[in-house]
């Protein structure tokens, strides 16, 4: 395989891993717990900015870019900081919007929040360098490892894959646990769940914060790879690419949404990036977005549960009792 091909493939692989991390976080919020977070990409962005400013070093007055709180933290710390900051911000947003608001108002507020976040990041020039964004963010351990660029790509792919597996195991741990069952109950009928004594607001907040932290981590891994981040990278339609991945793959099915990620953000948007320019600059991109919209509509119409629908939970009694529908329900209680 030629070097250029390897470079391209490893980049796609890294994008896939990063998108999977992000989609798993959103699937936990939306698919499992039923929280509509239209500002998800903003939490990814917060993670990315956090990782960037804590690894760029202190800001100088004669620097070409200006930002808040520059630091020079060593390798794993920026990612942890990204998760913590996004999680903390999720807590703040959640406390304001998830407690008392009706679900449709929540969805509205989230969408508006995403638009506003872009606006603030572009206009407050001292915050994260305004519309130009941050650049020359160091890749983690690049100097210490001393690898050739191509080898470093594969190492980074391995690192992103490792984080993806960790995220997957963590999210699956939640969805398969009694907690996951409670969350699904809340998603399907929050009043019934509340009537059974589940603290709906607390559960929602918890999932919102966990999902936000995962979003932050995916943003951090992304920005440390591409080394640049600007308001143009996280406009609100990006959240709908994640939603499209979830809807296509299968809402609430962790394996399904990973397949969805392979199909939509990676297969559809990244792999077609090198299509020749037809008609004029920007035409292909516009058509891509039209296709994302059509894809969402088609899936909601023909397969509202995605390619791999969420499997109905089956409860098997511990003792080898005869399994009939009535028995299995009784045994699960």
């Amino acid at each position: 395989m030629s070097d250029a091909m390897q470079f391209y493939l490893s980049t796609l692989l890294i994008y896939l891993f990063i998108d999977i991390i992000g989609v798993l976080g959103l699937n936990l919020q939306f698919g499992v717990a039923g929280i509509i977070n239209f500002a998800y990409i903003a939490f990814v962005a917060v993670g990315a900015y956090t990782a960037a400013v804590v690894s760029l070093g202190p800001d100088h007055p004669d620097n070409f870019q200006h930002y808040l709180f520059g630091a020079n933290w060593p390798f794993p710390l920026p990612i942890i900081a990204a998760g913590v900051t996004s999680g903390a911000l999720s807590l703040l947003v959640g406390v304001i919007s998830l407690r008392r608001l009706r679900s449709d108002y929540q969805a509205m507020v989230m969408l508006v929040l995403s638009l506003i976040a872009t606006l603030v990041a572009s206009n407050a020039s001292g915050l994260v360098n305004g519309p130009a964004g941050l650049a020359t963010i160091p890749q983690p351990l690049y100097d210490q490892l001393g690898l050739a660029p191509l080898d470093y790509q594969w190492v980074y792919a391995g690192w992103a894959g490792f984080l993806t597996v960790l995220t997957f195991l963590f999210v699956r741990g939640i969805t398969n646990s009694p907690l996951g069952r409670t969350l699904r109950a809340m998603r399907d009928n929050d009043r019934a769940a509340a009537a059974l004594g589940k603290g709906i607001v607390g559960l929602r907040l918890m999932v919102f914060v966990i999902g936000g932290a995962i979003a932050g981590i995916s943003g951090a891994v992304f920005v440390e790879f591409i080394q640049a981040w600007s308001p143009g990278s996280w406009l609100y339609p990006e959240t709908f690419v994640f939603f499209a991945a979830i809807l296509v793959g299968g809402t609430a099915n962790n394996w399904g949404v990973m397949v969805g990620t392979l199909l939509v953000p990676v297969g559809f948007l990244e792999a077609t990036r090198y299509l020749p320019e037809i008609l004029y600059r920007g035409f292909v991109e516009a058509m891509q977005w039209v296709c994302v919209g059509l894809l969402i509509l088609l899936f909601l119409w023909f397969r509202p549960n995605g390619i791999f629908p969420e499997r109905a939970a089956r409860f098997r009694p511990r003792a080898a009792a005869p399994t009939g529908p009535a028995n299995s329900v009784a045994a699960s209680e």
């Binding site: 304001i96 679900s103 507020v109 638009l115 506003i116 206009n123 939603f243 909601l300």
Partner: protein
């Protein structure tokens, strides 16, 4: 103080545009329970329809009527052949929001593909300026305010004085009861979307008349204050939307003159959050509470 009065003047214009747009947006929700997030993009589509007519040499005020007609028919067809089909198939509130956003992406990018990424403006002069104290309005801005007042009066008279308005309010409050009382709800829903679409079309053109240039994202960018105004008044409440529009319009323009023009929308959002914390159901909210059960 010498900055404040002109800012209030700008605020009145923004409030007028916002009132037209927000009343249309909230009407769609009240009658069909759909939060149409493609609303801003339909506004842009209407602005482009007026642009095409204007390029063909049609007077801008006739273009406004064309855009209103285009918006009315487009919105009605969109609801009948896309949104309503999904609702009938059992797509829930969340699913419907995603459907409208998918439509928004499609409309915006089809417009981008047809008209290409650049800025457009109408062949129309804003007319001479008139001074009112220290507020300065161009003639077209005065016309915008006039159109808003007429539109709001029209919506008010329609919903209180006519049988159609009564049927619309009945459908909004309880569709199945309205149907069993002999209201042809399907027809009422079509009319409601025609009406809100016309408001959408007017809003799309007057926003361009005020700002002079537009592109494929103009309407979408205006969605934040529209949502803020509609939610502020209690979503689904036309009078609430008017009240919300005046609040958001004045506050954001005054804040723009005091702080920084780029933070207009941030101010709108801030007001929205504060109001929702105090009154999570919006300022006027009887219908909104009734909706929650069916949502």
């Amino acid at each position: 103080m010498n900055q404040l009065i002109p800012a209030i003047g700008f605020g009145l214009i923004t409030a007028s545009i916002l009132a037209i747009a927000a009343v249309g947006f909230t009407l769609q929700f009240s009658v069909t329970n759909i939060l149409n997030l493609a609303y801003g993009d339909i506004m842009t589509a209407c602005a482009f329809s007026a642009y095409v007519a204007n390029q063909a040499g049609v007077n801008i005020w006739i273009c406004l009527v064309i855009a209103a007609l285009f918006g009315a028919v487009f919105s009605m067809l969109l609801n009948r052949f896309v949104y309503f089909q999904f609702v009938r198939r059992g797509t829930k509130l969340f699913g419907m929001i995603i459907v409208t956003i998918a439509m928004s992406l499609i409309i915006q990018n089809v417009l981008l593909a047809i008209f290409r990424p650049t800025f457009f403006s109408y062949r129309a002069s804003p007319g001479p300026s008139h001074n009112f104290g220290s507020m300065i309005f161009t003639e077209s801005q005065l016309a915008i305010m006039g159109i808003a007042v007429v539109a709001m009066l029209g919506v008010h008279l329609l919903s209180t004085r006519t049988k159609l308005g009564k049927a619309m309010r009945a459908t909004a409050t309880n569709p199945s009861l309205a149907r069993s009382c002999g209201v042809a709800t399907d027809r009422v829903i079509d009319v409601a979307w025609l009406l809100s679409g016309a408001l959408c079309g007017i809003a799309g053109v007057v926003i361009v008349l005020n700002t002079a240039t537009f592109s494929e994202v103009t309407g979408a960018n205006f969605l934040v204050p529209i949502i803020a105004a509609a939610v502020l008044g209690g979503i689904g409440q036309p009078y609430g939307a008017m009240l919300g529009a005046i609040t958001i319009g004045l506050a954001s323009e005054v804040a723009a003159s005091v702080i920084n023009p780029s933070y207009k929308d941030v101010v709108a959002f801030g007001i929205l959050i504060v109001v929702l914390l105090v009154r999570p159901q919006g300022i006027l909210s009887e219908v909104a509470v009734a909706k929650e059960v069916t949502a």
